[in-house]
Every structure is written in structure tokens, then in C-alpha cells.
């Protein structure tokens, strides 16, 4: 399955600075370098409305605006509603996955994850 072009612009949203760094490093290893970051959903939404992004990777539990609210806001926005969103979270219960899917995430990864898993999910989202 082909991976999305390495030119795509990715927004990584997580309140933990270490987690943002881990995701960015893994993305770099996969060949992606056009990456920006946000600390919570509110900050992410402001960036998404201001700049163009092709893909969002977001955590669930964050202060101010969590990942679920962010996904709902993206899906409710005419300009952003088709933006692919991957949720990377520690929430591993079946109902959490269902809730996220209902809100409109394109795929779901449970932390901790390997680069292979991220690659596989990205391939599925962009196929």
C-alpha cells in the first residue's frame, strides 16, 4: 500500500511535549519533515483555520479542548471537514474507540505504538 507523499503538511497535537517529539521523530524517520505542533485542541483549531494542513495526528486527553472536541470542530467546519485525522491515545476501551469513530476520526492508535503501526494507519487513511 503506498504511503502519502512526503510533502504533506502534518499537525501534531498533544499536551505532552515528549509525545509531540516522539511522533515528530517517527514521522521524520518515515520521511515526513513538514510538521507543526499544537499543545491542545484550541491551539490546533486556530492553526488549522489560519494555515493549510493535510493531516492531523491528535491526542485525546488535553486541557482547554480535548482531541474529541477538536475532531468534532473539524468535522463541523465547512473548510476543514474532509481533513484526515488520526487519534493517538492511551484510551484503549472499546467504547472510547467507538466514540472517537462516531466523532469522525479516520483511524485510531493506542499508545505506546511502533513506527510500523503509524505507517500502517497512515497508509490506510490515504489509500
Amino acid at each position: 500500500m503506498p504511503m502519502p507523499s512526503t510533502d504533506i503538511r502534518i499537525l501534531v497535537v498533544d499536551d505532552m511535549s515528549t509525545m509531540r517529539r516522539i511522533i515528530k521523530t517517527i514521522l521524520n524517520q518515515l520521511g515526513y519533515s513538514n510538521i507543526d505542533e499544537a499543545e491542545n485542541g484550541k491551539q490546533a483549531l486556530a492553526k488549522l483555520k489560519k494555515e493549510r494542513f493535510d493531516f492531523v495526528i491528535t491526542d485525546w486527553n488535553m486541557p482547554e479542548m480535548d482531541g474529541l472536541e477538536l475532531v468534532k470542530a473539524i468535522r463541523a467546519d465547512e473548510e476543514l471537514k474532509t481533513l484526515p485525522v488520526l487519534m493517538v491515545t492511551a484510551e484503549a476501551k472499546k467504547e472510547n474507540v467507538m466514540e472517537a469513530l462516531k466523532a469522525g476520526v479516520n483511524n485510531y492508535i493506542v499508545k505506546p505504538f511502533t513506527p510500523e503501526i503509524l505507517k500502517e494507519k497512515m497508509e490506510k487513511i490515504f489509500r
Binding site: D14, M16, S17, T18, M19, I22, I26, Q29, A90
Partner: protein, 185 residues
């Protein structure tokens, strides 16, 4: 005279009751006002320490990763010079081991998410502490307001004052006395 005596007796009994209420409140208020914020601060310190250490480890991993990339390029360059078979064999081995190291580094990176997972558990502990603080607050307020005909605003005022006290890092006896004075105790 007997009437006065019974009034005085009743007054003494009331004072004693109030003294017990004061003593009952003073201890949990002063103890909790020290323990809860102290524990919260300790947990926040652990979270900060975890974050700083994780970044330090990742800085080192990045240096190792950069070195591995340099080794990879250099080995490829040396292989492109068509060395003699024995040297070529050794270079191929170095290349293989170096690639192995790069993969291990990436794996180490993913394990660094322990910080995030531990942090989330610690956040849950902080939430429990906050709940404990509120439960304690309710107990203290109900103790203070028991048997008194207070309006809702007065009860919420008392709750606010006790909460203020519980969120302070440390309180001394003066703070507790001032608070009790405000309650009319």
C-alpha cells in the same frame, strides 16, 4: 435566681459544644491544608522531572541517531570505492549492525512514551486529590453549619473560605483562628 443559674449552665454547655466543634475543625483544616497541596506539588514535581529526563534522554538518542546516519553514509561511500573482498565484508557487517542500531533507536523513542502514559496516571491521582479536598471541604462545612439556620449564600461563603484555606500551601494557627472567627466561632 434558679432561672439565671439554668441559663448560665446552658451557656456553659453551649460554649463547651462550640469548643468541641472548633477543635474538631482546627485539626483537619490545618492538617489537610498542609498535606493536600504538598502532595499535589510533589506529584507535579515528579511529572516535571519525568518530562525533563525524557527530553534529556531523547537529546542523547538524537545525537546517537545523527552519528549512526554519518556512519551509514561513510560506509556507503567506502563500499562505492570497490574495496577488496575482506574489507568489503567488514564494511557490509558494519552497515548491517549500524542499521540494526538505528532501528533500536527508533524503538527506544517509542518506549519514551512511558512519560506520557505515566503522566496520565499521575493526572488521575491529582484528580483524586482534588475530589478528596472537596469531600473534606463538605465535611468541614457541614460541621460548621450543623444546627444553624444559615442561608444558602452563607453556606457557600463558608465553603469558599474553607476552600481558600485548603488551597494555601501552609496555614498557621492564626489563619485557622481567623477563619473560625469569620464563622462566628
Amino acid at each position: 435566681m434558679k432561672e439565671l443559674e439554668s441559663i448560665i449552665k446552658e451557656l456553659i454547655e453551649n460554649v463547651r459544644e462550640l469548643e468541641q466543634v472548633i477543635e474538631g475543625i482546627k485539626k483537619p483544616v490545618s492538617e489537610s491544608s498542609q498535606l493536600l497541596p504538598e502532595t499535589t506539588r510533589n506529584i507535579e514535581d515528579v511529572m516535571l522531572f519525568l518530562e525533563q529526563t525524557s527530553h534529556s534522554i531523547m537529546n542523547l538518542l538524537e545525537i546517537i541517531n545523527k552519528n549512526s546516519e554519518i556512519i551509514k553514509k561513510d560506509v556507503e561511500f567506502l563500499l562505492s570505492l570497490n574495496p577488496i573482498s575482506k574489507v568489503k565484508q567488514k564494511l557490509e557487517s558494519i552497515k548491517e549492525k549500524n542499521n540494526e542500531n538505528i532501528n533500536i533507536l527508533l524503538e527506544l523513542y517509542t518506549h519514551m512514551s512511558f512519560h506520557d502514559l505515566a503522566g496520565q496516571q499521575l493526572k488521575l491521582v491529582l484528580q483524586v486529590l482534588e475530589k478528596l479536598k472537596n469531600s473534606l471541604l463538605d465535611i468541614i462545612v457541614s460541621q460548621v453549619t450543623a444546627g444553624r439556620d444559615l442561608k444558602e449564600e452563607e453556606v457557600s461563603g463558608i465553603k469558599g473560605k474553607v476552600s481558600e484555606l485548603l488551597s494555601k500551601e501552609r496555614v498557621d494557627q492564626k489563619d485557622v483562628d481567623k477563619l473560625l472567627e469569620e464563622f462566628g466561632l
